[in-house]
């Protein structure tokens, strides 16, 4: 694939990458930094993209790796207080009950183990198919199913969702 095609594809997929990064990081500023670092990696590695997978799959895999590196180095930072002082992903009506549920869901997703969180965000948030998620995260399809199942169970338990009655308790 030639360079100008890759450059065009990057610009086309930038909004998707930024949206995904915001879901991953929960912070608009940090998401922008993650995407910037991802773009630098694309510049270094664009020749490795051979067109055998969708471009967004390849691009999102880079975003995931950049976020993982960032998290590994982030251990020196103070943990955020529960009342988040950074940009929220929820809308301005987060004081309503529906907003509270969304905030609780967001917190539950943030507390998932890294792999389950990534699978949940890609499968549910981005709506990607299992094989696409598997390719991005470099795991098997069965692993994707397992992680997704566990993630859902944890989230449901965190928000008090009763499986039998299907209502939050």
């Amino acid at each position: 694939m030639d360079r100008s095609t890759v450059e065009r594809l990057v610009v086309e997929h930038l909004p998707k990458a930024l949206r995904f990064a915001q879901r991953l990081t929960g912070d608009a500023y940090i998401a922008e930094e993650v995407v910037q670092e991802s773009l630098l990696r694309v510049l270094r590695r664009w020749r490795s993209y051979r067109g055998d997978a969708a471009f967004d799959t390849w691009f999102l895999a880079i975003v995931v790796n950049v976020d993982r590196d960032r998290r590994r180095q982030r251990h020196q930072l103070l943990p955020l207080p529960p009342e988040d002082i950074t940009a929220k992903t929820a809308g301005p009506d987060d004081h309503a009950a529906a907003g509270e549920l969304q905030t609780a869901l967001r917190c539950a997703i943030d507390r998932l183990p890294d792999r389950q969180r990534e699978v949940a965000l890609l499968s549910i948030g981005e709506g990607l198919a299992t094989h696409e998620v598997a390719k991005i995260l470099d795991i098997s399809d069965a692993n994707v199913h397992t992680c997704l199942h566990l993630a859902r169970k944890r989230i449901a338990k965190a928000i008090g969702l009763d499986h039998a009655n299907r209502e939050p308790t």
Partner: protein, 383 residues
């Protein structure tokens, strides 16, 4: 177990999750990222083109240099060798084949009265002989200089209070030559006067001595004096550079400690903190800091150069103790608009005092904005 079947009743949960993950992407951010991408891409292309041109230019220069060398070794010779010989071309006679052609004596003319080897390159034998005779003369001179240096070393060893500079001057040896001779002595494995040689190198040494002195510094017994000599020779900045040239971890640590011990060499220490590969190692020696160094670092938080401010923030963030924490808290409390690096140092602190203050800052409108900016800046600088 079929995961799909068991997950079927999670549909409603999935919808709620999707709603919770709904985000709005700012067009301004997209624009910034597009600009960033285009700028970086263009810069990358230009760099690649420049590298190609540089490689081609280097190849052309190499070819030209090789051609010039080849051409100059084949010097121009007179076109008519017979002019030198002064003989007319021998014409064959009708004599039998085993008779030699008649030879004529050389006739000197005004044109060929000068050196008969004019324009002829020296033969190998001539080159060797000339070189040997020149070297012989140089060796005689060198031996005399060696002896003079040896005398200087012995005199200084006998009376350490003598001024080394005066000794060298009285010996009549040029300082560059003195350095070379001293380095030869230093490189001897059994040199008995290493301390004296170092004293003299402190006077006449140049960056050329760095490698030899660094090598000597590996010996713990000589380390202190060797590093002091090196600092006198190349300065604090040179000592900091020397730390990046050795793979001896103990030696590097000794250099870091030395640079951090004085406020005068603090900037050289901070230059090492700015090195991403060395930072963790460099900060290890900053665990306990004396008060003058802490004050100097706090001053550096207001330096003009961002890299200096950031390096000072790293060090203050790493150094332990309530004094540093309290100093930083006082700094940002009295002036919340202090350089962001002051906040960075506080964010990097460990301990209850720092945690309590930062938690307090999240609830104070006049502090919150500065704290937020510092957190964003932090996430940028550690990546």
């Amino acid at each position: 177990m079929n995961p799909n079947k068991s997950d079927a009743h999670f549909d409603e949960l999935d919808q709620q999750i999707r709603a919770a993950l709904q985000v709005d992407v700012s067009p301004l951010q997209i624009k910034r990222l597009e600009t960033f991408w285009r700028d970086k891409s263009l810069a990358d292309r230009r760099q690649k083109i420049f590298r190609r041109f540089a490689a081609m230019a280097a190849m052309i220069l190499i070819v030209l240099a090789a051609s010039h060398k080849l051409w100059s070794t084949h010097a121009v010779t007179p076109s008519d060798p017979n002019q030198i010989a002064g003989a007319a071309p021998a014409t064959p006679t009708s004599q039998p084949k085993d008779a030699f052609p008649e030879s004529r004596p050389i006739q000197l003319t005004a044109e060929n009265a000068h050196s008969m080897s004019h324009g002829r390159p020296a033969t190998a034998y001539e080159q060797i002989m000339f070189s040997a005779r020149s070297r012989q003369r140089k060796m005689v001179q060198r031996n005399a200089a060696f002896n003079a240096i040896d005398n200087v070393v012995e005199r200084l060893a006998g009376d350490p209070n003598t001024d080394p500079r005066q000794l060298l001057a009285s010996a009549g040896i040029a300082l560059p030559n003195a350095e070379q001779f001293l380095l030869r002595r230093l490189n001897r494995p059994d040199e008995p006067r290493r301390e004296t040689v170092l004293q003299l190198l402190a006077v006449c040494g140049t960056p050329q001595s760095t490698a030899a002195i660094l090598q000597l510094s590996r010996d713990p017994a000589m380390r202190e004096q060797a590093l002091r000599t090196l600092e006198q020779t190349v300065g604090s900045a040179g000592l900091a550079r020397a730390a990046t040239q050795t793979n001896d971890a103990g030696l590097r640590t000794a250099i870091y400690r030395r640079l951090l011990a004085n406020a005068t060499s603090l900037d050289a220490y901070l230059s090492l903190v700015q090195n991403d590969f060395l930072r963790d190692e460099v900060l290890v020696v900053a665990d306990e800091l004396p008060r003058p160094i802490i004050d100097a670092l706090l001053q550096r938080l207001n330096a003009d150069k961002q890299s200096t401010r950031l390096a000072a923030a790293f060090v203050l963030g790493h150094a332990n103790g309530p004094i540093v924490t309290k100093s930083l808290i006082d700094l940002v409390s009295e002036n919340p608009a202090s350089p962001t690096e002051a906040w960075l140092a506080l964010i990097a602190r460990r301990g209850q005092q720092a945690d309590q203050f930062l938690t307090y800052a999240t609830r104070q409108p006049r502090l919150l904005g500065h704290f937020n900016r510092a957190r964003v800046y932090w996430s940028q600088t550690i990546h």
